[in-house]
């Protein structure tokens, strides 16, 4: 596979404001001056693996307490109600819904993503604490689905945030979503759910994609 070009746009020393320490510092260019202090200017870092035994144990623990932040952007979110209620009852698998990105480890994108929601998705994803995983539910989030020629719906969410598990269907039944969660658990146990590290590695690629569609970028470049 060809290695894609790293789109690093370093800040040249001449144009660097005094609060930008080096070329790796994010400039948070869309923000007003007085708001820059509220956000971190460091780039996301890789979560390095620890010793194998420790890592295995931690992965086991992670796989058994998946807390979900459900971003119900479209009709896929309807399928989450039967998932948490008595019939499918995901709490027996150690999962539960959380109301805030700060408490969640799984980000569930349920449905089509418009430009307006993409902004909120990027922001919520970056606010989540690691380790964090993304599950894309529904065709619309994965390849555009029936909105493939829509003027305001982005086609592939995995060009903007990293996705670990794709659940296809229009809409997928709760069984399919459960199967997706089981796959995610398996991947976590094997240490293969590396979306967070991918985001750190390809940060410039993701950021360039995000900025290409969101033209009025008034968010910090990375916020956590």
């Amino acid at each position: 596979m060809p290695e894609d070009k790293e789109i690093v746009t370093p800040v040249p020393p001449a144009e660097r404001p005094e609060w930008v320490k080096d070329e790796r510092t994010l400039t948070n260019s869309g923000l007003p001056e007085e708001e820059r202090d509220w956000f971190c200017d460091a780039r996301p870092r890789r979560a390095e693996k620890s010793w194998r035994v420790v890592e295995n144990f931690m992965n086991w623990a992670r796989a058994h307490s998946l807390w979900i932040l459900a971003f119900g952007t479209g009709c896929g979110a309807i399928e989450l109600r039967p998932l948490v209620t008595a019939r499918y009852d995901i709490s027996r698998l150690g999962m539960q819904m959380r109301p805030t990105p700060r408490q969640a480890s799984v980000f569930l994108i349920g449905g089509y993503v418009s430009l307006k929601t993409l902004k909120r998705i990027v922001r919520s994803y970056e606010q989540m604490q690691g380790p964090k995983f993304v599950v894309a539910v529904c065709s619309c989030a994965i390849n555009g689905g029936m909105y493939w020629d829509s003027y305001n719906t982005i086609k592939r969410i995995d060009e903007y945030i990293p996705v670990d598990v794709y659940v296809t269907g229009c809409m997928p039944r709760p069984e399919a979503v459960l199967a997706g969660f089981n796959l995610l658990k398996k991947l976590i146990r094997e240490g293969k759910a590396e979306g967070q590290n991918l985001y750190a590695d390809k940060f410039d690629w993701f950021k360039a994609n995000q900025k290409q569609v969101i033209t009025d970028w008034n968010m910090p470049d990375y916020n956590w």
């Binding site: 060809p2 894609d4 307006k116 003027y151 719906t153 995995d158 590695d201 690629w205 969101i214």
Partner: protein, 174 residues
């Protein structure tokens, strides 16, 4: 409904009367008589409910048709008013003074069709299309497929290509 139409016809220059079923009538009104007609209908004839405002793009005739649907709760009647405006200069009187909720419809029509409603509050705030660059998307000469392909096209990458991975899993011999 026919009676009401005949009564208002000359004052407001109504044309093209149509009645689909008893209790629902439609008529066309010129844009300059619109506000006074709506006021008259609301205050004197009991059409107190603005059901919706919507727009049709008649591209071939070079016109927009803006439709106002009013409802009379006591007599259970609908009155549909159609206004034709020039497509090149789509300016209509704002009716937010008659019904407050009309500003939301007007914002939407401004965003989706590029209609102008001078004086309507918050008309330039984006409703759905944040950071939109381009022509109003619901106009018929807007090519949504071309726009989508240019703007949201697939970008090449070196990591986690689902297509390649699924091909590897499902059809390894190809």
């Amino acid at each position: 409904m026919r009676q009401l139409y005949d009564q208002l016809k000359d004052t407001y220059r109504l044309t093209e009367y149509g009645e689909r079923h008893p209790g629902q009538a439609a008529a066309q009104v010129p844009a300059e008589r619109l506000t006074s007609l709506l006021t008259q209908l609301r205050d004197a004839h009991g059409f107190s409910h603005l059901v919706l405002m919507t727009c049709v793009d008649w591209l071939e005739q070079g016109q927009f048709q803006v439709t106002y649907i009013l409802h009379n709760h006591t007599r259970r009647q609908d009155f549909i008013l159609k206004v034709r405006v020039d497509r090149a200069h789509p300016v209509l009187p704002s009716i937010h003074t008659l019904w407050k909720q009309a500003r939301v419809y007007q914002r939407e029509l401004h965003e989706m069709f590029g209609l102008e409603f001078p004086g309507s509050p918050g008309i330039d705030e984006p409703m759905i299309l944040e950071s939109w660059q381009g022509p109003p998307p619901m106009r018929r000469d807007f090519d949504t497929r071309k726009f989508s392909e240019e703007r949201y096209s697939h970008r090449p990458r070196s990591h986690s290509e689902p297509e390649a991975r699924m091909k590897e899993q499902l059809y390894p011999e190809d």
